[in-house]
Symmetry: C2
DNA sequence: ATAATAGGCAACCAAATGGTTGCATGTCAA
DNA sequence: TTGACATGCAACCATTTGGTTGCCTATTAT
């Protein structure tokens, strides 16, 4: 889980996920296309995404095809965000009360 | 949004949020209690959480009270995770098809 | 008044991060 | 078979990160 959060912390990696979300099954060079980064930089990002199980790859000859795996993202929503979802309304009303009170 | 993701990337910071989720409105020293970190380290983490708007603070005399703000977390769920939610089923069936085919 | 308490600030440090360049390897096409 | 293409590996570099220690300031309690 920690690896997923860390993987999602970087904007370049999130944008790579966005790219795969738009078009799944791209090759490495396809993913590099138009990016202000060297291929090797992208390779490193992909490796981190693979470690976090956010991207799965298949070799096809000399090409490496990249597939998005949105399951860990879904799990973050399920296991972690949901927990703070309930807290939201509580926190908001608490904040309201706090801001309206004078005794501070 | 980037700041929120970055703030959530660190396990210590997530655990601080967990602590505030369990008990809102704690002072700095309360938050430090039982942690294998100096107060100053916690201060830095809190600052990052404040920058990301995940924690709001109120001064009360010499104490600084910390309140969880779960709204940015909720927004991540709404704006970002939701996007990959739909992709989940697609990706899973695609993966299944992929794994079942022989021609690779 | 003064000591204890709660927190802030700044300098410093090691390790992790995000990126680069250079070269090696494997696969496809002419 | 040989050149071009897709990717892999490793060394290196600057910056960021997560943490420390030492000291300063403000507030509270005795």
């Amino acid at each position: 889980m920690d690896e997923v959060f860390k993987a999602l912390a970087d904007a370049s990696r999130r944008s790579l996920l966005d790219r795969l979300h738009a078009k799944n099954g791209q090759t490495l060079n396809e993913l590099c296309d138009g990016l202000a980064m060297t291929r090797q930089a992208v390779t490193k990002h992909i490796a981190i995404l693979e470690d976090a199980n956010l991207v799965t790859t298949f070799r096809h000859g000399r090409e490496k095809l990249h597939y998005l795996n949105p399951v860990p993202i879904h799990q973050i929503g399920e296991r972690w965000i949901k927990k703070f979802e309930r807290a939201k309304l509580v926190a908001l009303s608490e904040l309201k009360r706090r801001l309206e009170s004078d005794d501070e």
